[in-house]
Structures are given as structure tokens and as C-alpha cells.
Symmetry: C2
Subunit: 465 residues, 2 copies
């Protein structure tokens, strides 16, 4: 398919849309992007939204594809592990991997998005328009209806194909659902938990108030607080809490006194460095935690969903942005296959990709339970110890589920999930049965874990699971 | 809560709604039912819809609750097993259970629905109105908007509470989704297969053209044909086939010649007794196979979803109607708990019930793959042989997954799924590993299966699965 004359309309210039625009611009397509918000490089629109994110190897792979890895690195703060905080304020650093070179990064959503927009706009064949909200998509005519936020005027745009990267509330996805023109499988699943963003401000001299190079976690079994560093010396702090269960919840934390009492009791060391707690708590919104899956992502060769529009996930694996960036890498591979038309490209892309985005959605839910219950179960701690030792001793032969998901960008999420879950099951069961312990010789441990993992996978295959 | 003055509005007088109306009428509530279709006792509206259904122990339990078991039994045709048909027309009867007294029934949807309506209307406090379609529900005001099919007039009804039993396309569920007033988790999942109803007509003397007391299956691995008997000597035949994959599919079976060729090749013995094939095929619609799940089912104490409106499932376990009838049994239990208000009743009902309707939805998908692949895998056949022998020899100690789901109405679907799947996995793995065979002593087989099943369940518990 000759691409020189192809006009591609992208709905949404968030992280996924701006990266896609950049890549398609590099490939020579005529790319037009419409974004509902103002240009975030010139307007502050961050209030209450997730202002920093975990950025790791799958995301980095995408930055390499478009050649801006070095520029992105300047925005990154490495986080080598989880810094766990108990109720007495004791801390314990748990590295993400037994391999020194494996770590994740904290990155500013706004800075990264701005960089991607600027890089995309360097291409004459890419144009980006702000304050234009997509109201609906006519996927049979390949046209989209927009409204200008400022003039309120409505206008219709057409293109050779439309790719919607307009996030969890996607207008294209809504059009698929409401039109009932084809069988559209769709799910939205909410946790009974919400989240609220808070902050640790920098010290007066601009320094970090707590250890910079970690993702801080206050795991409290049925709820948790986390904190990620920003380049300006602050941390973005997020409280994950039930809406209506437990002694304290979002529905009953209604006064400054109750909020302070809750933090005093559960997160005293955090409270000490957040004099701004009450203001943050009552100024910032409480947001929902949802998973969206759907299929098909495309309608013929006309329209395609990508990023959160196709697969929004909960944030607990730090993979939301990385998965969306990986979408662009995988879409680029489909383009490389020189297929004849957009329908073939979209079909090949979805067939290859959907199993992986389904998997990371499920893994992200798993990890919520693992993170908030982090310190509770001694057998989980013992497993972690064994896995760290195996990763350190056998860096090429062993990777934990977390490492497979986070640091093995050439293993798909689904394969990471299957192998990772089987490994977890193997180790936990052998520990419980006294077949292994963290004192064992590492070579023999590795062998036992590999054999048992393979046996579990084989048993599942035989049972057709 | 005194129920004498409570006005309950039921939307939909299908199988679930009419049983619910009967039961709530028996309990003394003022019940008003609105149904969008005409009265099926006086109008033929069956065309193209599923006209007979599998009816089994969970459904029978509900009929006992309302005291009409004997009347329903007159409508039943027992089916003792699956009659499998191979491509050469050879048949093989595989009983549903090793226990003689365990069988399922074929029953006419229309006859059963008519009986339930008639029984409900015997109560002065129950009134049923036909040709009134629900357009939307205001769940904050507890009112529903209806349109009369004949006069086209719209009118609003209010009640103390509204229960929607209006099926997979529920107006209340749509109102929950569209209003966005609370976090509503929702999924609709379509298979890439559709179904079409066909028929074997009776012989000229009114007899059955093939064996009456079985559910006939022509399993062909990637598609299948099934047939269930009707009281009039006919069978309702259903073709389950991919929309777009395989040599023959619903999208490419576009001419009488192709349809006949397909049946000649795949179902020759069926084709012999269906001279009406081509007419049926092109007159009857192709329908979709979808699963619907959602949560919450209720909004405060105002409104509640029940039956297919809350949990539509694919038909492969023959449990759709049975699950909806069981809903009424479980709702009746919640009413027995003498809770203070509708919100408590609805909450208790959903908390107890949802895990089970989620499970039967997943089991029904599993069973599609099992049914269409029925004859393919020798190890599955060996498993079935062992389970039949165990059920026969130890009727109180062993029930297969199928029996747990179908004949053990006092075991919830979720428990049946967990135990049944672990049993399947235990037997399949021990067969593959040569640890057991169908020649073994039954007492020792039972012991080994029980021990291995428990070990599988325990391993999953340890791994937090």
C-alpha cells in the first residue's frame, strides 16, 4: 500500500496519540491530530490528574523506535525498588529485581507528552489541533464530528482512516457501542476502590523530603498510600482506598479532623512531611479505578482504537503508559508487514496485540492485591527473597513475574503472565510443602523451580486451561 | 418490613418475570407486570426464537417452591443423555450421569411461560399487562417509562420497587449504564459464532423421526448441530457455526446449494430427515451468542435486575432458564431473612447470588468447546468413562462437573465450577501420567481422584488463585 497520499486522522494527543503521530509522521503519512484539551505545553491542566507515571523497558523500546530515548532519559528519575513503610515509620527497601541494571523510572506525564508533541510537530506532514473535542465517529463513512471548545462550532473531518487514541472515555468506542452495527464485545469493570492524589512538597531548599530513588509504599492490607518522585523535589502521593468499606473510607472521610486522624494512625511518617494534607485531600477529586476491554478494535479498514481507548487498565503494575507505547511499536510492526490495506493491517495488529493487553489488564488487578498486602504474608516474603537471589545469580536464566512484565520487553504480556503465574505457584507451593527454602543451594533451587513451573504449565495444558 | 402495602413493578413477563410475579403474588405483594410482547397464550410469537429449552433440577426446585411441579412435569420430555452422531451417521448414546435417576428434560418455552402466567394471574394481587414496552427507568425516582405498542401512548408507572426481568436487552440495565450516576461495571461478550434454528418435522403419523429421549449432537470440532424433542413429535434443531471462519460459515452459506452441500457433507443423517432444511435456513434469523455480566444489580432499594437482565449466558450448559428460575428461589430466601428494607434485601440477594451467576456464565462457555469437540479427544472419552463408573458405583460420593452443575441443585454454581474443574484436571492429568486408567478398581480410583482434586484446590488456595 503506497502511503504517500494516505490521510490519517488521530483523535486525542495524549501520550499514545502524540507518539503515534510522531511515528506515522516519520513514516511519511499525512497526519492530522485533534485534541480536546488545550496545549499542555502552554497551559497548566494537571490539577488532580496523575502527574507522574512509572516508565520502564517497554516504554523505552518505543522511545528508541522514534529516536528520542536520550531526550526522554533527561526527564526520568530512576526508582530502584519499593521503599516499604510500616505503621511505626520503619522503612525497608525491596529492589525491583536482583539485577542491578533493572529499575523503573518516575516521569512527568506533562513533560513527556509535551516532548512527544514537539517532536511530532517537527514533521511538516503532521498537524496538531487543540481544543477540539470529538463528539462521535461515523465509522462507516470514516468521518468524525468535532466541537471547538472556544467557538462551540461543530465540524466534520474525514480521512482515509481514523485512529482513536482518546483514552478510557473514547468517543469512537462509544460510537461502536451505541451504533449496534456489528457485534461489539465490551466491558468496563470498576474496583470498589478509588484514588486521590496528594503530595509531599520539596523542602525550603528544594530537596526531597524522603528517599528519592524509590517508589514508596505504605501497604495496609485493605488500602495503601504510594509516592513517586518528581524532578522539582516534590513527590506525587496517591491514596488508594475503598469507597465504602473499612473503618475509614472515601465516603466517610468528610472532615479535616477525620483525614488527619486516619493519616496519624496509618501513615504517621508520611503525615509528618505533608502539612498540606488537608488542603490536597479536599481540593483534589476522588477518581475511579476501572478496566476497559473490548473487541473488535477496528471497523473494517476505516477506524481503529489504540491505547487506553482500546484497553484501559488500573495503575498497579505501572504499565498503563508503557502498554500504550508498546501499542505503537506493535502497530509499526504491522505496517512493516506491507499488507495490502488498512483492514489487513488493523486485523493483524489486533490479532497479535489483544491477548497481551488483556493479560496486562488482569496482571494489574493481581498486583493491587499484592502491593497493598505486601508485608502481611511471610511466605510471599520468602518467595521474593528466593526470586531476588535467583535473578542475581542467574540473570539470564531467571526472571520473576514482575521482571518478565517490566524488564523483558521482548516477552509479550501474555507469556509473562502465564510463566510468571506458574512460577509464583510453583515457589509458593514448594515453600508450603517444605520442598524448598531460601537457605537452599541456588543451583538446585533454580532447577526445582524450573521443573515445577513446567509441570504446572503442562498440567494446565492437559486440562485445556 | 410489612409487605401488605408494597407495590412491586416487574418489567418483563418472560420465564423469570412470570415466575417472580407468581411467587411475589403468593407472598402477598401487590404485583404489576408489564410485558412488551403480546400474550403468548393467545398469539404465536415463537418464530425464530428458541422454542424448547433444557429444564433440570435447579428449575424443578423453583417449580416446587411455587407448587406447580406436577403441572410442569406434563410438559417435559426426559432426555437421558447425549446422542452423538458421527459423519457416517453412526450414533452413540452417552448418558448424562452414571445415576439412572439423573436426566434433563426438553420443555417448550411457550407452554411453560404460559403456565406460569396463568398461575400468576390466579392471584388477585397480580396483574399482567401486555404490549407495553419499557423505554427507560428513572432509578432515582423509582419510575419506569412505557410505551403501548398499539396506541403508541407513553406513560409512567411508579412503585415501591421495580424489578427488571426484561432479558438480555434490559431497559433498566441500559438506564444504569447510560445515566452514569454510579460506578456500573458491565460486560457484553460475543462469541464469533452465531446460531440458527431449524427443525425435524414429525412423520406423517406424528411420530419422532429419530430417538426421542436424548439431546442429539453432531459435534464437528469447530461447529455443531443439536436437536431437542418437542411434544408434537418434532425436534427443534440448532446449528452453531462461526460467522466468518472455516470452509462453511454463516457469512458464506448464501445459497440453497451451499447449505445442502454443507449438510450433505457434515450431517448426512440429519439432512435425510429434514427436507425442510433450505426453507428453515433462509427463513429463520441467525442470532448472536453473548454473555452479559454486570454489577451492581440494584440501585439502593429502588430497582433490581434479575434473570437474563442481570446475567445473560450462552446456551451450552442448558442452564439459562434454570439459572433464572434459581434467581427467584434465592430472592425468596433473601425475603425470608426478614430484612428491614428493599436495599438490604437486594444487597443480600446480590452478595449471595452473583458469584454463582458469574460461574455459570463461564461454565457455559467452557461447555461449548467441550460439546463441539466431543468425540475428538480420546483422553476426554476415558475421563467420561471413569466418571460414569464412579457415579454409578458411588452415587452419594461422586458427581462429575456436569452432574454438580445440573443435578445438584443444593450446590451453588460457583462451588460446582471449582470442584468440577479441579476434578477434571485431576483425572485428565492422572490419565496422561499413567497414574490411573479406566480399568482400575473403582474404590481405589475414587480415592485417588479425591486426593488429587483436593491437592489441586489446595495448591490454588496457597497461590491465592
Amino acid at each position: 500500500m503506497s502511503n504517500k497520499k494516505q490521510n490519517i486522522l488521530i483523535i486525542g494527543a495524549g501520550l499514545c496519540g502524540s507518539l503515534l503521530a510522531l511515528r506515522l509522521g516519520q513514516r511519511g503519512y499525512n497526519v492530522t491530530v485533534f485534541e480536546m484539551r488545550p496545549d499542555l505545553r502552554t497551559t497548566d491542566i494537571s490539577a488532580g490528574r496523575s502527574i507522574n507515571l512509572a516508565f520502564s523497558d517497554r516504554g523505552i523500546k518505543a522511545m528508541k523506535l522514534v529516536g528520542i530515548e536520550d531526550k526522554v532519559k533527561e526527564l526520568c528519575i530512576p526508582m530502584n525498588g519499593r521503599m516499604l513503610h510500616d505503621k511505626d515509620g520503619n522503612t525497608f527497601l525491596s529492589n525491583y529485581s536482583g539485577k542491578d541494571y533493572e529499575f523503573i523510572n518516575s516521569i512527568s506525564r506533562g513533560e513527556l507528552n509535551g516532548l512527544l508533541l514537539t517532536e511530532a510537530e517537527k514533521h511538516d506532514n503532521v498537524s496538531i489541533h487543540f481544543n477540539k473535542k470529538c463528539k462521535s465517529v461515523d465509522f462507516e463513512k470514516t468521518t468524525a464530528l468535532f466541537q471547538d471548545y472556544i467557538t462551540k462550532d461543530e465540524f466534520v473531518e474525514d480521512a482515509d482512516c481514523i485512529i482513536a487514541t482518546d483514552g478510557a472515555g473514547s468517543a469512537l468506542r462509544k460510537s461502536y457501542y451505541l451504533a449496534k452495527k456489528f457485534l461489539f464485545s465490551f466491558s468496563q469493570d470498576y474496583l470498589s476502590y478509588g484514588y486521590k492524589e496528594l503530595s509531599f512538597l520539596p523542602t525550603k531548599t528544594g530537596d526531597y523530603k524522603t528517599y528519592k530513588n524509590a517508589l514508596h509504599i505504605w501497604p495496609r492490607s485493605s488500602f495503601m498510600l504510594i509516592a513517586l518522585p518528581n524532578l522539582d523535589g516534590s513527590f506525587t502521593v496517591t491514596l488508594f482506598l475503598s469507597y465504602d468499606e473499612g473503618e475509614y473510607n472515601f465516603n466517610n472521610l468528610t472532615t479535616p479532623e477525620l483525614v488527619t486522624e486516619f493519616f496519624q494512625k496509618e501513615f504517621p511518617d508520611a503525615l509528618e512531611i505533608m502539612p498540606n494534607l488537608v488542603d490536597d485531600f479536599f481540593e483534589n477529586p476522588t477518581a475511579a479505578l476501572g478496566t476497559v476491554k473490548c473487541s473488535p478494535w477496528h471497523y473494517k479498514g476505516n477506524t481503529l482504537l489504540m491505547g487506553d481507548a482500546a484497553h484501559a487498565i488500573v495503575p498497579f503494575y505501572g504499565q498503563g503508559m508503557n502498554a500504550s507505547f508498546e501499542d505503537v511499536v506493535e502497530f509499526d510492526k504491522a505496517l512493516d508487514q506491507h499488507l495490502d490495506n488498512w483492514e489487513q493491517i488493523f486485523k493483524a495488529y489486533e490479532k497479535n496485540r489483544k491477548k497481551d493487553t488483556d493479560a496486562i489488564a488482569d496482571l494489574a488487578i493481581d498486583n493491587f492485591h499484592e502491593m497493598k498486602g505486601h508485608v502481611v504474608n511471610p511466605i510471599f516474603q520468602e518467595k521474593r527473597k528466593i526470586e531476588m537471589a535467583l535473578e542475581k545469580e542467574f540473570p539470564k536464566e531467571y526472571s520473576s513475574k514482575y521482571s518478565l512484565v517490566t524488564f523483558n520487553e521482548n516477552v509479550g504480556y501474555r507469556q509473562a503472565m502465564l510463566t510468571g503465574r506458574a512460577q509464583d505457584k510453583a515457589i509458593l507451593n514448594m515453600l508450603t510443602d517444605g520442598i524448598i527454602s531460601s537457605q537452599d543451594d541456588l543451583k538446585s533451587l533454580l532447577e526445582k523451580v524450573k521443573v515445577e513451573t513446567e509441570a504446572i504449565l503442562e498440567d494446565d495444558r492437559i486440562a485445556g486451561l
